[in-house]
């Protein structure tokens, strides 16, 4: 009797957990590998309903992590949504398929300058998903002046009042910009100058911390006066806290673009194209954009924004501000130098 009840208990346990165990593939399925919390779930549901294609969803928190998981063969992905410089690298390493634009008619609606990005000429391998800039988010309760320059976050009067990004590309990149160098420079002198500036900034006690995503929450909570931030996160914070403002400094900054690509390992090419096309459809793109609240690459969606939304530089950067900005290029050949510099700054 006792044995029987144990058996029953075990059986129950297994039926309860069964969904976690690898299940057999039944219908047509694609696996989308995207940033954590970077899509409106109802959009996926709608896609599944309309096409009958099942979507499996996997997350990463940095593109480097994505790269590791991809190359170490963690899983087979049909769609990946990496950032610009990573796309450049993946193209270089021949890991992406060329896209068949006949299957993505909605891609016509992209903002013009995004149709031929520097990292992927003519968008042969990628279709933009969301884009944004890097800038300064500041709290007007703590900051009296108008912030226009990167110099402000190096100003010692803000003691323990600045959050920097724990991302070597962005942090070193904006410092290079401040010092007047190109953001992708390989010039060691420039890099050293940036390094010195960042070390000095830390020594002066300006930095409260080097964080990534936690910044949002902290800035909403009023934990610091300023933070280097991605425009999307900044937008989220602004919506939660009225005293926050976002600016793309005059020295220029980094403009980034996350785009949808199909890896060579993709087994379901047609379904993957269908997904990309679906995401470019203006009504879907609008819905998704309203959820994520990042800048949209679809021209028609910009027109759908209300006036208040158009005002936010974090959501709808002016064209001249974007012109001052640069894409990151792939620096995988230069990573040792960056690694060293970054270690020296943060260690």
């Amino acid at each position: 009797m006792k044995k029987l009840s144990v058996l029953v208990a075990l059986a129950l346990v297994f039926t309860f957990f069964a969904p976690v165990l690898p299940a057999a593939r039944a219908e047509e399925t694609i696996t989308v590998f995207n940033w954590y919390d970077y899509i409106d779930d109802s959009v996926i549901e709608q896609f599944e309903e309309e096409t009958g294609i099942k979507v499996k969803y996997a997350n990463f928190t940095t593109v480097e992590e994505m790269y590791v998981k991809m190359t170490s063969g963690g899983g087979k992905y049909d769609i990946i949504i990496p950032s610009d410089y990573m796309i450049e690298r993946l193209i270089k390493e021949d890991m992406l398929q060329e896209l068949d634009y006949d299957l993505i008619p909605n891609a016509e609606g992209l903002i013009e300058w995004m149709k031929d990005p520097s990292y992927d000429p003519e968008g042969a391998h990628s279709v933009p998903y969301m884009w944004g800039t890097v800038g300064i988010l500041y709290n007007t309760e703590y900051v009296d002046e108008e912030i226009t320059s990167w110099q402000s976050i190096f100003d010692p009067k803000y003691q323990k009042d600045v959050f920097m990004l724990k991302s070597y590309r962005d942090t070193i990149g904006i410092t290079l910009k401040m010092l007047g160098y190109p953001i992708n420079t390989h010039d060691e002198e420039a890099l050293n100058a940036a390094k010195e500036a960042l070390i000095q900034q830390k020594k002066d006690g300006i930095v409260q911390g080097y964080l990534v995503d936690e910044v949002k929450d902290k800035m909403i909570g009023g934990e610091a006066a300023m933070a280097v931030m991605w425009s999307g996160d900044a937008m989220y914070a602004i919506m939660e806290n009225d005293s926050l403002e976002y600016v793309i400094p005059e020295e220029g900054s980094n403009v980034w673009l996350d785009a949808m690509c199909i890896p060579k390992t993709c087994e379901n090419v047609e379904a993957a194209h269908a997904f990309i096309d679906f995401m470019c459809r203006p009504d879907i793109a609008y819905k998704n954009m309203q959820y994520i609240y990042y800048s949209t690459p679809i021209a028609e969606v910009v027109e759908m924004l209300d006036e208040e939304e158009l005002e936010y530089e974090a959501l709808n950067p002016s064209e001249e501000a974007v012109e001052r900005c640069e894409f990151f290029q792939d620096t995988s050949d230069f990573i040792d130098i960056y690694n060293k510099i970054w270690n020296e700054i943060t260690a």
Partner: protein, 272 residues
């Protein structure tokens, strides 16, 4: 079938999943990106930045261990004493936090320490100036102490409980005053527990990366952070492996050192 064959599956498993993976660490530590032999990564471990991180890790872990010992020993002693040992639930309360997800607890600690966190809110309400708590070394140590204190209390408590009370009575009988009884009898006899506690606190403290990330606001890179960064951000597996080896060596050395002090050598007190 001999009973000793039963150890077969276990031995096989351990070799397959502890020894073999270590070989990979060794391999990556001694090769460069192209797979050729290279000691560059090993040498990088000796560079000033790495050494700085290493010294900081050891320093913070050491401070944490000392604080845990100072706070934990009396607590263990009180819990084991006649007055309190009957309240078993009290003891349960002390180890209960260990069953909670440690990241969540650390995250909650963050809410306590932030500039506009609970402590500062309380301070301000009473008219004090808010303090900068988060992002300091102090915050990291606080987080470590908070997380690892039960690991110190537990083995010392066990050692004290196991102690034969007649020994203490004998010492009193022989004319020792309470201080003497403690320094000459109780403490020496509890050393195995203390050592066990020190190991259980120092080791995770020296290797942590989540605590320093959350409570140190990324200001203080520790060895654990550095390894994690190498693997997941920089994608430099070679240097990451070299650092891992470096860390192993530290751990092995410190355990060796501790065991030297331990009078009951070889017999790890069976707490964990």
């Amino acid at each position: 079938m001999k009973r000793s064959y039963f150890s077969g599956p276990y031995a096989l498993w351990m070799v397959l999943f502890t020894i073999c993976p270590m070989i990979f660490v060794l391999y990556y530590a001694f090769t460069n990106g192209d797979g050729g032999f290279s000691v560059q990564s090993i040498l990088e471990c000796l560079e000033p930045t790495t050494i700085r991180v290493f010294l900081r890790s050891v320093k913070l872990a050491f401070i944490c261990t000392v604080i845990c010992l100072i706070l934990g020993y009396p607590a263990a002693q009180i819990l084991a004493s006649k007055d309190f040992s009957k309240y078993k639930l009290l003891f349960v309360l002390f180890i209960l936090p260990m069953w909670m997800n440690f990241l969540l607890r650390t995250y909650a600690t963050m809410s306590l320490l932030e500039r506009r966190g609970i402590i500062n809110t309380i301070l301000e309400r009473f008219g004090f100036e808010p303090l900068t708590l988060i992002g300091t070394e102090g915050a990291v140590v606080f987080g470590m102490v908070y997380n690892y204190l039960p690991f110190m209390i537990l083995p010392i408590h066990t050692a004290l409980k196991k102690m034969d009370t007649r020994v203490i009575e004998a010492a009193q009988d022989l004319g020792a005053n309470p201080l003497r009884v403690f320094t000459r009898v109780i403490f020496p006899l509890s050393i195995p527990g203390v050592i066990s506690g020190i190991t259980m606190v120092f080791m995770p403290a020296v290797t942590t990366f989540a605590i320093s990330r959350l409570l140190g606001s990324g200001n203080f890179m520790l060895l654990g952070d550095m390894i994690e960064t190498q693997f997941l951000e920089m994608h430099d597996w070679s240097f990451g492996s070299a650092l891992s080896m470096f860390m192993m060596v530290i751990i092995v050395l410190s355990i060796g050192l501790l065991n030297r002090i331990d009078p009951s050598k070889g017999e790890r007190s069976g707490n964990w």
